[in-house]
């Protein structure tokens, strides 16, 4: 129901998620994300192009990651489908997180220098 793939390039980790991020799958995303953050990743893109559903369990994981990186890096979101973007907006996340249309533009924003 959910797949998570991480790819590191020039200091930026892109985490591509596909499927549903719900109460069943969110714990797996959380443990993968926490592992990466524990390993010292500080520039993270969550690529949600292939995510078609997210519930509060998924929002919680995104918030957790963004808070952990707040003073030492950045977590941004890319490629959200309109129906997923809408859920982030309902929760008021549009005012506290950065969203990009494409992972490519998110990468440019996160690249050092």
């Amino acid at each position: 129901m959910m797949d998570v793939q991480g790819k590191k390039d020039a200091g930026v980790l892109t985490i591509a998620v596909s499927g549903k991020i719900d109460g069943v799958t969110a714990p797996e995303l959380e443990s993968r994300l926490v592992d990466w953050l524990d390993q010292g990743e500080t520039r993270v893109i969550l690529d949600l192009q292939e995510v078609y559903y997210i519930s509060s369990a998924g929002l919680r994981v995104v918030l957790l990651g963004a808070k952990r990186l707040q003073n030492k890096g950045r977590l941004v979101l890319a490629g959200l489908k309109p129906e997923v973007q809408e859920i982030f907006e309902m929760a008021g996340f549009d005012t506290i997180l950065d969203f990009y249309d494409q992972p490519g533009s998110a990468r440019e924003a996160l690249l050092p220098g």
Partner: protein, 134 residues
């Protein structure tokens, strides 16, 4: 139609799949049917995590009533008395550092249906969700 599931996390996708199908059948658009699914997921995940925390795992009953004007879903458990609607809304306009992790589930459920109502009756917590067809 009423169905029952054990109050475990693995029941939630089954409940959601059923609700999605019922919403489509009622005539809701795909987007609105997914909102139904979100509301029901939030309520049932809450039951799984909290309702039977102090004792043996009980059941979640889901009662779907379709009509020409919309759909009403009653979701109930026989766990400890708890009104999820009594919690204050999370502060969604605070900056990232002050944002609380969690507490968004029922807030979202409230936003995506027209009406949501709680009652404690005959030893059960009953949440009733209602959404009209546009």
């Amino acid at each position: 139609m009423k169905k029952e599931w054990p109050a475990v996390i693995d029941s939630v996708p089954d409940i959601c799949t059923w609700v999605l199908a019922e919403a489509r059948e009622t005539g809701f658009s795909e987007r609105e049917a997914e909102r139904w699914m979100l509301a029901v997921e939030e309520v049932t995940v809450n039951i799984v995590h909290y309702a039977y925390r102090d004792g043996p795992v009980g059941k979640i009953a889901v009662d779907v009533n379709r009509s020409a004007s919309g759909m009403t879903i009653g979701i109930s458990d026989s766990g400890r008395p708890f009104n999820p609607l009594s919690a204050p809304d999370p502060a969604i306009h605070t900056p990232l550092e002050k944002r609380a992790i969690g507490g968004l589930g029922i807030f979202l459920a409230r936003k995506v249906v027209d009406r949501i109502h709680y009652e404690r009756r005959a030893g059960r917590n009953i949440l009733t969700l209602r959404k009209q067809l546009p």
